[in-house]
Subunit: 664 residues, 2 copies
């Protein structure tokens, strides 16, 4: 006959993603808040703990630890545990009835009602004896205290005995040795991945080092690109993302403007990876050597930025893999290799891997070794090209493998595809994701989309990195907006999300497109470009101010704290961000009209800001460096194409004479 | 080296309750609609099926069957499978790429673009050969057709060959023998329980057969109670719920009005179960014999009603179990048995089982045998007393055991406790549940609560049975409302949910309470009551009309179809119900004011009713039997304490001269 078993019910532990199938994302240094619904039949006093441990990287593994949960009423319990270090953690919930505390609480009510409690005291004694027995192996002292108390309770009832029985210290000690065989464990062990800070807070600048000479003729090298670093630093970016730096195929190389015929001096698309000089682990000799690349990374670091590499898992037909590992590619019955295509489109300069065929058993580890190779060179951030065209299983496997060893490695998913697929990529492990922000221009659609991606459940796993342009996309909006559009779009990107990026040329308001397309004219994907960084009409200063605001104001560095507020003008969005401690509060108004001035009445969320209706507070507008006093729940703003955004840091006056040393 | 594997992703299969831990509830005869998010990298044509089977009762088990899912766009897929019979079903989702269809779709685009497709045709031939091989074991004919087509595709390309390759019949046949080794199965097998109709649509009448003589002195028998049946039938109820019918303990028997001292002729509380005459399987001799009970059940059936028994798993100290199975009860160290208590309250006439102690291994099966005993007598509905004071594991085990053999058995959870516990009881298997309706009197609170419990996710597992009174609760509201309150509360109960019930005396507007409590004065729980069914001021006719409306209008028989609409008066609620086919539509307005007339402007949901803004339609008010023509989106209603509710069946005029036989 089996002994007594527990009957606590534990439900709805959260955060929980896909029934525990995926890890939620948090930032190292924060804590992870866990909630659960807990109950049991009857009236027992319950105790619950969150059990947690770090499980990666291997060297940092910890033993299971426990933090007590607090009851918040309505059967809701809560606790937090620390994510002190970067890596993967597990957590679950366990709960049990605290029998001695239950007994004591009932005893008190019976005593208060004047009942005879002789029999009850004997019950209490038995409970204490059980606790003493469980205490014995670890603490003889505690065991003694408990069994002494048990002995007392067996004496004839007296008021002193009741005092002993109801002593809070005794309850605490008995609780420490509660009968955990009655505990219930939550059905699943859940995971949270604690990324380093850069995972959620990053300002990306994408550029082609081969254009670093900026004459449109001379192939730039990493050395030339180093000369570009002070410029990028002056703009204030912290992440430098380079398109693929590997040897570029010759076969079917694309010419300028994606033409099917390349001239002999055409440089080709960097995404057509692999040539006689090597594949994904090699550096294009025209850019320099591996040594040069490492030097560039260090130089970037000295200029306040981290280098991010492109991970484009596809091959030019000249890639060494093609000959060395025919089993990694799909072939047709006539023996020809299949090039990439989405009929009627063909990508003759690219062949795809056969991801799920039998060759995967060596292919996947080889691709992992590619990532680890660049990690060894010092790269910790990868922007992954078109991940949605490769199996999700592969990414889940790869990211887990890499982060198990190097939890500091971040992966940005460049997936512009259907919403559920983009979310699925984030769930299986991508640190950040491209978004539809690129095409969200108007108030309603912007608010709805940003609300969705910056709030749970989506923000538990998806971190949107907002790009107003990329080498692949010069949005329709920017083609016709003039500099006003460039200013407002980058202001939105830099303040709506804690991560955003631009592709170089944006700061110069480059807007020449292929007619009827969102492709750049004379796209840098296929040729060297002569960027004139001093070109009239540039918005370098505007971008620098945005990045400075982001660096100085904690509220702008957080992802899931975006709240939209009311503005009475359909072309003006008004929103705010706040750090959890309230020390940093920024309000933002952006005009969505690149052509004309717009005025709006803004409804300041005084309550959320902790400001009284009649209180005077200070705002510091960060783009103009103007300070003002505000009072009351509304304010009027005028935004123009030259100055389409206002960022107000909000400060309360907290000090008064009472805080002055000599007061009194 | 392992062969090719699949990479379809299947997410968010719904309905799914607690990550598949619990079954959702549906009604036999309906179908179960299943949705899932499905996708795969790249552009393959996908096929998905819902796999399903019936798993209980044992005799009805079926093999796994498959229904194809339809893509609804945005990666959402949907299918339904039939719940033809009462019982438990399993379902899951499986999906795979249809390679031949993918190939054909790409071929078409290439042909349209004028590309040379020689190599492609060979690929198609290989796919067909694969299909032929898979077809062979089950259909030599299909195998032949497929391999003939494969042979054709190997001939030199020609327009005729393209026609063969793109033949829809060929694609269908190839799809039938698709390579299912590339299929992905959803991670979990889910369950749905298909109850019989009464589970969701029931009108309960609770009465004490011992009061059937109605003189307050003579103990009624089942035979006497049979004489009450025509009366109950005239009221229109379909479920007759009897408080426990078992022998009642003598020890610590409660006297009138819950007094601690019973007089010798006091009948005691029927919930103090068990005496020398027997326990939970016995009939109180004062009521008659088991044979009399069976006769009563049959008589009830002839009067259109099914008998529901009370399942109160607790014992009087005189219960035979107490002596025969001391291991089923908790004892104190001094050997005394623990009686039920929630200090300072004591229930001296009741002892509780030790649910989770070692005795459970024989206790639980014994209690199952109690249920099966009554099932053998013909009882199919149980109202379970205070389930929240017993472990949820037990109920889950019991209901599953009983319904595995007898899926027609229904369990109503009498839990008035915290919201999460009430929901948890529904999740683990209770068919219906008592609700907070009993205390929701005003517009906002009524709407919010009913919205919550009649919509998913709650309505997937929780079916609220609305009781305006019970033997335990004479709500404050009814104590002071006069007959107007009784009319309006029963009208709400009967129309807001498809299941409701009253405790007898309600129709007589019995409102005498213990001062300051919600307990009836001279409660029938402790004594015989002399009900005068002809008492002035009764509302029998009002209730009869409500039950008639419920019987005649399908919309009122469904649970999850409640929608609230706008009424401009804070004391008038306005709502509607509609059958899925739209054939039955009922609008309801109820005044929440038992004292004064109330007028309200009601906003008729023309669009939901499928009525044009300028269309004239007919309403039939079911409480007054008045018919009117309405037009337009608003109507004015006047409700009075005598007539506090209006139920309009809505009919459109669909016929015109074109439908007349001789038209033209």
């Amino acid at each position: 006959m089996s002994s007594r078993i527990g009957s606590v019910v534990i439900e709805s532990v959260r955060p929980e993603l896909g029934a525990g199938r995926f890890a939620v994302k948090r930032i190292a240094g924060e804590s992870c808040t866990v909630e659960a619904d807990l109950f049991k039949e009857g009236h027992d006093v319950l105790v619950a703990v969150v059990r947690w441990r770090q499980i990666s990287p291997a060297g940092q593994e910890t033993e299971w630890a426990e933090v007590p949960m607090k009851s918040l009423g309505n059967d809701l319990w809560k606790a937090e545990f620390p994510l002190a270090r970067n890596g993967r953690y597990q957590y679950t919930v366990e709960a049990w009835p605290e029998l001695f505390a239950t007994w004591a609480s009932e005893l008190k009510r019976k005593v208060d009602a004047g009942r005879d409690v002789r029999s009850e005291l004997l019950e209490g004694a038995a409970l204490l004896e059980g606790a003493a027995e469980r205490a014995r192996p670890s603490s003889a002292g505690h065991a003694q205290t408990l069994s002494d108390a048990a002995k007392k309770l067996k004496q004839p009832a007296s008021p002193e005995l009741i005092v002993v029985a109801l002593s809070p210290d005794l309850a605490v000690l008995a609780g420490r040795y509660a009968d955990r065989s009655l505990a219930t464990q939550y059905a699943r062990v859940l995971e949270v991945f604690a990324d380093r800070e850069r995972a959620t807070h990053s300002a990306w600048y994408e550029f082609f080092p081969r254009s670093a000479v900026r004459d449109g003729k001379t192939h730039g090298t990493f050395k030339d690109a180093e000369a570009w670093l002070p410029y990028i630093q002056s703009l204030g970016f912290d992440t430098l993302y380079l398109p693929p730096i590997h040897p570029i195929g010759r076969t079917a190389r694309k010419g300028k403007n994606n033409s099917l015929r390349a001239e002999p001096d055409d440089v080709g698309s960097p995404w057509a990876i692999g040539a006689a000089e090597g594949g994904h682990k090699a550096v294009n000799p025209a850019l320099g050597t591996l040594e040069d690349f490492r030097h560039f990374c260090k130089a970037a670091e000295q200029h306040g930025a981290e280098v991010a590499l492109d991970l484009a898992f596809q091959c030019s037909p000249d890639h060494p893999y093609v000959k060395e590992h025919p089993e990694w590619f799909l072939r047709r019955p006539d023996g020809t290799i299949k090039t990439a295509e989405n009929p009627p489109k063909r990508y003759e300069d690219i062949v795809n891997f056969d991801w799920m065929g039998p060759g995967r058993e060596t292919l996947w580890p080889e691709l992992e070794s590619v990532v680890l190779h660049w990690v060894q060179q010092g790269v910790r951030i990868f922007r992954v090209d078109n991940p949605h065209t490769k199996p999700l299983q592969f990414w889940e496997w790869l990211i887990r493998r890499v982060q198990d060893k190097h939890p500091e490695v971040l992966f940005l998913s460049e997936a512009f595809t259907r919403p559920k697929v983009m979310k699925a990529l984030a769930k299986i492990g991508f640190t950040q994701s491209y978004t539809y922000f690129t095409w969200r221009n108007f108030k309603q659609e912007l608010q709805e989309y940003l609300e969705e991606i910056t709030h749970p459940p989506v923000s538990d796993y998806f971190r949107g990195n907002l790009w107003p342009n990329t080498p692949d996309i010069l949005p329709e909006m920017l083609q016709r907006s003039g500099p006003g559009g460039f200013r407002l779009r980058v202001a939105l990107a830099a303040t709506l999300s804690s991560s955003y990026g631009i592709y170089s040329g944006y700061e110069l308001c480059e807007a020449r497109a292929l007619p009827g397309k969102e492709e750049y004219l004379d796209s840098e994907k296929y040729q060297l470009v002569a960027w004139d960084l001093e070109r009239p009409g540039h918005i370098r200063d505007w971008i620098r101010k945005l990045n400075t605001a982001r660096k100085q104001h904690r509220a702008l560095q957080l992802y899931d704290n975006l709240r939209f507020y009311r503005s009475d003008n359909e072309h003006v969005v008004f929103y705010g961000k706040r750090s959890p401690d309230g020390a940093s509060q920024v309000l933002v108004a952006v005009s969505l009209d690149p052509h004309s001035p717009q005025e709006a009445l803004l409804h300041v969320p005084l309550k959320e800001l902790g400001i009284q209706p009649d209180e005077t507070y200070q705002v510091h507008e960060l783009m103009t460096d103007e300070r003002r006093l505000w009072q009351g729940p509304t304010t009027q703003v005028r935004l123009t194409p030259d100055q389409p955004a206002a960022l107000w840091a909000v400060y309360r006056f907290r000090r008064s004479e009472q805080a002055f040393d000599y007061y009194e």
